[in-house]
Amino acid sequence: MASIDSETEQQGPIWELVGLSDYRLPSAPTATSARRGLSSLMRLFGRRQPASQGPVKTEDELHRLEPERLEAIISPIDWHPAAQLLQQALEQRSKLDPAWFIISPPAAGYAGLLETWAAQQAAACIPSPTYEIVAGDHSGWLADLPAGDAPWTLPRLERCWLRHPAGLGLVRELFDRLLSGKLGFGLIGCDSWAWAYLRYVVPTQAVRALTLQALDGERLANWLGQLAAGGPAELSTGSPTGSPTVKQKGTPTVTPTGTSTGLPNRLSVAHSLRPRRFRHAQSGNLLLSVNDDEEIGVTSELRYLAAQSRGNPGVALQLWRSRLRSEPDKPEAVEAEADDESDAKAGDESGEEAGGKTADKADGKAVDKASDKAGDTVGDKAGDKTGDRGSDKTGDKPKVETIWVAPAVDLELPSGLDEAEALILHALLLHDGLPTEVVEGLLPHARFQTHSLLLQLAAVEVIRSEPDGCWRVTAFAYAAVRSFLAGRRFLVDDV
């Protein structure tokens, strides 16, 4: 299946379109997993693992980033490169395919990819039916579907059904029409949980289901590097292999290339060129560096983030954004480029070894060294030098902006969750979120009980009410909720 290759051979593709059976979950570094496993075991018996050393920056010394600054540091996902990849793949599709399904894990936002594709290709984008249409008369909605040869997209199939006896008719009729060829070619997005359920309702084996390959440590580091550089990766044509190529702005080894393709670039080039370093607040290790000369491999921390988010870009991005911090009195702390090379090398290693070594160092002397250096450099040297950061110059080298990354936290579900909560969480995941009145109607409990449980789950941040009025499982709780439901033998998704 098609993939976007980076310009250099050192970096693998970020987006890759693969069949569901080819989806590979990223694995966490062994040492990190073992340490976290030990911590959770000790917590089970009411003990806490003593910290081997104090953090370089404590949580009290750091502030969460302002939303505007967060937006500037991590720009929103731009689906244009992936949409172009999708189009290239579609150009090679079999004419016999009635539809392709793009399966999206929760919060991954692949519906946005399909909407971007539709805008790029001027294809019809079918809005989702309302719940009243799904459970009632849907003949009008089905009649409005395109019938010609022009491709069209339905980005949210999960909105076209309800787990209710009256809620399956629309999706069944939609499949009947699709498979009979009456609707031309459709590109349909579907949530992975809904897809797992719908295989019991409609002949999903008769259509082609694809997804974007999970972001492993390397892909995630490249992608976060792009986002932190302030702009999306840009496609260029004419690579030797004939496949589209991404010029990755902000990654250590590639020079930014401007906006030749005309893709929207939300931030100024000058801003995006600013070197940024992401340092671990506990160890002081360098995790990510953009627009910078530093050669940084993929750290175990980023590998763990990839595993923690199950390779899901939406979840990974939310987890990453939630961990970014700045020093309150130096919100844009910069550090001189004069750091010696050992600074970076002390904290970060590339390749498989990095996980183990970095993890080991977290408890060992190597980190003390790195921490001291990071602390000295960032806290003192950088702090002193950035007292008047607007005018400070360090030779000809650009100033480096330092962003602190709080330690990863694995959300644990409250111990009292039982069957009633499991039913609610499962219903929300199967439908990619539901409004209160609909979820109350789908579950066997009294409405007031369901409502009360929704509020209780929201209070512990397992779910939240989103602007569209739907309750959804939060990105932070997703992994724990999935594991909770799988442990109780509920149906879970494939990706």
């Binding site: 006896p165 399956l168 019991y200 309702v201 066997p444 033998r489 509920f490 149906l491």
Partner: protein, 272 residues
């Protein structure tokens, strides 16, 4: 057998032997209590097959502990020769056979129950008129908790005389049935589809397990039986209730009429 001969069978119980016996006794009791508490505690934090396997291990481990304790204690009490063993166990068996016949029968049936496993912890069984979940397989009796939350203790000796109906037989899967009685004049195929969808959309359903709708014509109407499996056997009553209530609501919403009650007798000559 005179007193001297009997005395010869037994070892002299000095302080050391008594201490050994006491240690064996307390060790056995402690181990059994540990197994009986720890494994169900752990099992109740798990779901599915692992829960059933752990629960089923309890009586087996207890039997192993008891046999181990017995093998340790016997040489302390008697001279372990074949002659002595036959004499002691023969006398013991005779006494038990006459004085504690039923008790001994239940004990033996308890050993058979561990071997043949007609019921294990976590199974849903019917013994006589009692239906419930097996919560404890003891040496003498099996404990069931009924849907009304009553604890019923049934001696293992029932194994010899009563049929044991086991609904899930060591597996977390258990079939549930919901009955519906409809007026005979209706579109049966539509009802079958609707009942199938009711089961398919129940949040308790174990997806991937078969769903069956069985119809039978009766003098007073048509009886439909909807059969499906909940995710966990402990959900069976909630699952059956959910199937019943949602199917009834959907049937009425779509204009199906329930069978009239009381049923009218079949008119003469209508059959055949």
């Amino acid at each position: 057998m005179d007193t001297e001969t009997i005395n010869d069978l037994f070892r002299r119980l000095d302080t050391g032997a008594l201490l050994d016996l006491t240690l064996i006794l307390f060790g056995t009791v402690a181990l059994i209590l540990l197994v009986q508490k720890a494994l169900p505690w752990l099992a109740n934090r798990l779901h599915g097959k692992s829960r059933h396997y752990l629960l089923a291990l309890v009586p087996l481990l207890r039997l192993i502990i008891v046999i181990g304790a017995f093998l340790l204690a016997v040489p302390t009490l008697i001279e372990p020769s074949l002659q002595n063993m036959v004499a002691i166990f023969g006398s013991l068996g005779l006494a038990l056979g006459f004085a504690l016949k039923d008790y001994a029968s239940s004990l033996v049936a308890g050993i058979v129950a561990v071997g043949e496993a007609p019921y294990r912890n976590g199974d849903w069984v019917q013994i006589g008129d009692t239906y419930g979940e097996v919560t404890h397989v003891g040496m003498r009796a099996v404990n069931l908790v009924t849907p009304d939350d009553n604890l019923v203790s049934i001696p293992h000796a029932k194994l010899w005389t009563e049929p044991i109906s086991n609904a899930n037989n060591g597996s977390p899967q258990l079939q549930c049935t919901a009955d519906f009685y409809l007026h005979p004049a209706h579109d049966g195929a539509r009802v079958r589809e609707l009942l199938f969808d009711v089961a398919l959309t129940s949040p308790y359903l174990a997806l991937g397990e078969p769903i069956a709708v069985v119809a039978a014509e009766q003098p007073w109407g048509t009886r439909y039986r909807l059969r499906a499996y909940p995710i966990d056997a402990r959900q069976q009553f909630r699952f059956a209730t959910d199937l019943t209530l949602r199917a009834k609501a959907e049937l009425l919403r779509q204009g199906f009429r329930m069978a009239a009650v009381p049923a009218r007798p079949e008119p003469a000559g209508a059959s055949g």
